[in-house]
């Protein structure tokens, strides 16, 4: 057991739901989108996540539906267990927001308080999920049917049923991807929880040093024009990509995929790992297991997953539908909504077809998780996603806890915050789908 590392320093209450996005902006941009939707009104208390997501009401609706379905009483796992699994999963990404939220929900649901003392106090059945949790969070491509078998096969004791397992898998990957969103948007802890969470912007010093993303009201002239040019450039590229007719040799395509995958410069620079606060570390085993570039070249490493061979629409859904039907429908709807979400705007431009850009983001995230779409030219990723964006996306997806305000504000400087949140949504869902696909594929293999 670690001893209490520090005295709690009183901190000013963070204002607004996010460290990255000024509260005023959320109100302004939200108002434009009729934030007061039924969905928001129906939840009695809009937490910070919902507030931020409220910038995209169409998405928020199905997100809440999914989350409610996950945490409503129906289902194979008891309610406290579900909260505990979320705690366990979000702890992997050091997301104290979720840990807090679900710790109290866990107690409310009648969970045994002693479990909160740490993983070792939880029932062995939950502890057995650790490996899967770890892999799902960081390197889902390593999940094999043996992992599933270990948990499910009749000899295993205490044994997981497939229905329980699939719910646990959804819960875990939901929590992992939600952690990405929370870090990626710099969401503050809820005011009622004690401010133990260091705001994602790291030190207050940095926050002071870093000017907030330029607002239209006071554009730093030069920076502003520069930024405008960037948008212009990006739009031109998108047009180009859309019209592109040129042919590439397959070898070229493979190389491009590989290149995107292995751009190791994108690793966040600071590798210095602060010791985890005890409130989180007690839910984590093997904290040194983190994301590593997916590499199919290694000896025992698995081959690239082809999206055509195991897709959500065909295979993932069918399996999920069988084991956890309601959730399959909800997730399917959520994926569809997030993929179709667009306002045809880019920064100051309207009536833009952003599909290529969204596709590029989606496939890039799948790419860093080792999923390859045969029919996608990964050169587009390189053209459309600027370096700073890639840094942000990769960090938020793979090492969410290392996301900083600097990363958030350095990409797409002239874009609206709601558009950046849109990026985060895509990121979260693409990540969720990737993790689910690997887990479901393993389950399929186990079943056949």
């Amino acid at each position: 057991m670690k001893e209490e590392s520090a005295v709690e320093v009183p901190q000013p209450l963070p204002s607004g739901p996010s460290a990255f996005i000024p509260a005023q902006v959320i109100l302004d941009e939200g108002a434009r989108q009729e934030v007061m939707t039924d969905t928001l009104l129906s939840v009695s208390h809009a937490d910070h996540i919902a507030t931020i997501m409220g910038l995209h009401p169409a998405y928020l609706g199905c997100f809440l539906r999914t989350q409610n379905a996950l945490l409503q009483p129906d289902g194979p796992l008891p309610l406290p267990w579900r909260h505990y699994i979320i705690i366990m999963a979000s702890a992997r990404h050091q997301c104290s927001y979720l840990v807090k939220l679900h710790s109290s929900a866990f107690q409310l649901a009648g969970g045994d308080e002693s479990w909160l003392r740490g993983l070792h106090c939880a029932p062995p059945k939950i502890q057995r999920l650790q490996t899967l949790n770890k892999l799902l969070a960081h390197r889902p491509w390593l999940i094999t049917q043996e992992h599933i078998q270990e948990l499910v096969c009749p000899g295993a004791d205490p044994r997981w049923s497939l229905a329980e397992l699939i719910q646990a898998v959804v819960l875990m990957s939901h929590a992992h991807s939600l952690a990405s969103f929370i870090w990626g948007c710099g969401i503050h802890p809820e005011p009622d929880s004690t401010a133990e969470q260091h705001p994602p912007s790291a030190s207050p010093a940095e926050r002071l040093a870093q000017p907030p993303p330029p607002q239209r009201e006071d554009p730093n002239r030069q920076e502003w024009t520069e930024a405008v040019n960037e948008v212009q450039l990006l739009m031109e590229k998108m047009m180009l990509v859309q019209q592109q007719e040129e042919e590439f040799t397959p070898e070229e395509m493979v190389t491009r995929f590989e290149r995107e995958r292995t751009e190791s410069i994108l690793e966040p620079a600071e590798v210095v790992r602060a010791a985890l606060p005890d409130s989180i570390s007690r839910f984590v085993q093997d904290p040194d297991f983190i994301y590593q570039d997916f590499s199919p070249r290694g000896e025992q490493s698995p081959p690239t997953m082809r999206a055509q061979d195991y897709s959500w629409e065909d295979h993932g859904f069918s399996l999920m539908n069988r084991l956890y039907g309601e959730m399959a429908q909800l997730l399917d709807e959520k994926f569809q909504v997030v993929c179709a979400l667009t306002y045809h705007t880019m920064a100051m431009h309207t009536h833009v077809d952003t599909s290529t850009l969204r596709k590029a983001l989606w496939n890039y995230i799948h790419c860093i998780y080792g999923i390859r779409h045969d029919d996608y030219d990964y050169g587009e990723v390189n053209q459309l996603l600027e370096r700073s964006l890639k840094v942000f996306v990769k960090t938020a997806a793979c090492h969410p806890e290392k996301t900083t305000l600097r990363m958030y504000s350095s990409f797409w400087r002239q874009f609206l915050h709601s558009e950046k949140v849109h990026v985060n949504l895509l990121l979260m869902e693409a990540r969720l789908q990737a993790a689910l696909l690997y887990a479901l594929r393993a389950i399929t293999r186990y079943m056949t």
Binding site: E247, T249, P250, E251, M253, R306, Q308, D309, E313, D314, H315, F317, S318, L319, N321, R322, D332, D374, D375, Y376, T444, M447, T448
Partner: protein, 772 residues
Amino acid sequence: MEKMSCPSTVSGRTMFCHLDAPANAISVCRDATQVVVAGRNIFKIYALEEDSFVERLNLRVGRKPSLNFSCADVMWHQMEENLLATAATNGAVVTWNLARPCRNKQEHLFTEHKRTVNKVCFHPTEVHMLLSGSQDGFMKCFDLRKKESVSTFSGQSESVRDVQFSMKDYFTFAASFENGNVQLWDIRRPDRYERMFTAHTGPVFCCDWHPEDRGWLATGGRDKMVKVWDMTTNRAKEIYCVQTIASVARVKWRPERRWHLATCSMMVDHNIYVWDVRRPFIPFATFEEHKDVTTGIVWRHQHDPYVLLSGSKDSTLYQHMFKDASRPVDRANPEGLCFGLFGDLAFAAKESLMTGEAGRKPYPAGDRRYPIFFFKKPDVTEQFAQVASALSVFESESDGSSRMDWFIKTARRYLLSGKPFAELCDHNAKVAKELNRPQVSTTWTMLRIMFSDPGNPAPPANHNMSKLGNIPLMNRYSCAFFLSFCPSFHSVFLPSIHSFIFSFYLSIENEETEGSDGQAEYLFGDAELDDDDLYSMEHENQAEEAEFSLPQEAFPLRHEIVDHPAAPEPPAEKPESPQVSGSEAESFCLTPMESFSLISVSQLLYQPQLTPSFFSPVVREMLDHYAEQGDVQMAVSVLIVLGDRIRKEIDELTQEHWYMSYIDLLQRFELWNVSNEVIKLSTCSAITCLNQASTTLHINCSNCKRPMSNKGWICDRCHQCASVCAVCHHVVKGLFVWCQGCSHGGHLEHVMEWLKSSNHCPAGCGHLCEYT
């Protein structure tokens, strides 16, 4: 090479060969001698020999095969021996000419699609026409002579999963989409589809035209259904629907068998099923050889219904002979079971099974065998085994426990108003107990204890205490007592009672020690058993009814307060001032206590911390529980009896719902009076107004037979009093009873009296009236 195999070749056997890699699709050439297998890492042609597959050609050439070889689909031209087309996962459409002299047989490469091509399809009669459907939402028609697409059909950015040329209509093709739609196109009109309809929820993975019936299209979707559509009518009409157990990946009509089709699934299920669409509940035949999902199925010859080829992800290629298929029908036991409205049970089973147990014990309650009153006419085209079944109906015993007798009796005997609260509870508890419903009975008793006034719970307790040796009662007893109920209140009451008694001894022993809180907590823990345990206990504990003596013993003592003048009005009558009625009850309850010899004065002076509102959540939960269990009677009765004590706690709509259900039930059992009482006592405006509806009575004057138009009791035409009692000659303003023979009548009670002593009409008309 050109040997046409005739349809009757049933030679061959079930056989398979190992492929090097999982297959994605297979296709046969026209003369059924060769089959092509395509997948991500395989593209080979096998010859079908008499008893084995022989590899003929590997089309995957080159040192580092490109993604163009990674096939999602393959089709062998049905007219041109040497022509093949593949759909690649990277969006390329490739044609292959086997007649090319070099090793690389690739002829054309079309890279017009942006995303994966899911399907390619040659025109059945036109040599040079190839159609493709892709994930990017476009279908393209290629002219192989021109080396480019001649027309593009847009599916409005919905991914295309399958395209199929119609067998009979030269220009028509069908396309199925990821959003569940199916579109029909005319190949000459690329601007707009001819027709569109929604076939499935979720993607439609496949479609297939019937080889003979020109209008029939079979579609299979992720929603696990196979549907057959009649396209000849104006609107596509679903004529058959087969529900399978997994998403349907491929569907193929069986040649020469009008009603049969073969399906395989996308995931989880590895078998190939052949269905008779008219018998959608059980497959006609099943092939169970594959170890992983089947990805391609094709009938070997277009006129031979007995041989099916299939490729699978388990890297095998199979030839299935129909004679080796398993027939699930043979193993199925056709049985049906259904409950009737009055608790009867109908059971149908195969006759052979029923006769087999002729010597069985007859069901005591009566078992009627019904003659089969209709037969399904055997259809010779249907190759299903015909089964005759026998139908038995079991009638439930008239006095069986499944009946609702208890409901009727309870409804009749419950008292809902008109007496002090505590008495109502006691009375109802007694009723429930007599009807052998201990749980309900205990609930009533407990309600009384909780909601009667502060001092009130003491008498039974004190009474008991006095037996135990007259130890002065401490406040905390009642506290501990209350708390002990709370945790498991909604589940079951017996254990609570146990723990209650237990707690008593406990607190007596610990009397000197401070800390009723500690005890209370302990009791909380004690009562927290599993629900299951509690229920089982309930049944076992019937014998232990002595335990109930505790609340029961209180009854005789209660009578002292029965006729207390300050008895509160039924709470329902003071809906506007719940607080007032509460305090009223308080004051009323306190007074009789003082005359109660067994109660010590200190007890009376004690102001309890647990106000009745403390229990409200628990009681609410309990009511919910009862309603949930279907005992809405209990919920409503308690609601009425408790009145304002609980009403505010329960949401208006729920209350209304309960009332409505209960009233509905009462009316079904023709308990009109009770139902009316409930309506009257209810506090929901929506319920009370039930009594306000259709309250108008139209009456005619008994003298002039004209309608009485004005209010009052005098007819404005003949100026006489209408409806005068024949006995007392006063106007009847309440219940009027009249003889249907002579139409004289009067006050109900007067007529009753009269007819007791006389047979003749009181009006003197001489009619012999009867009162029954």
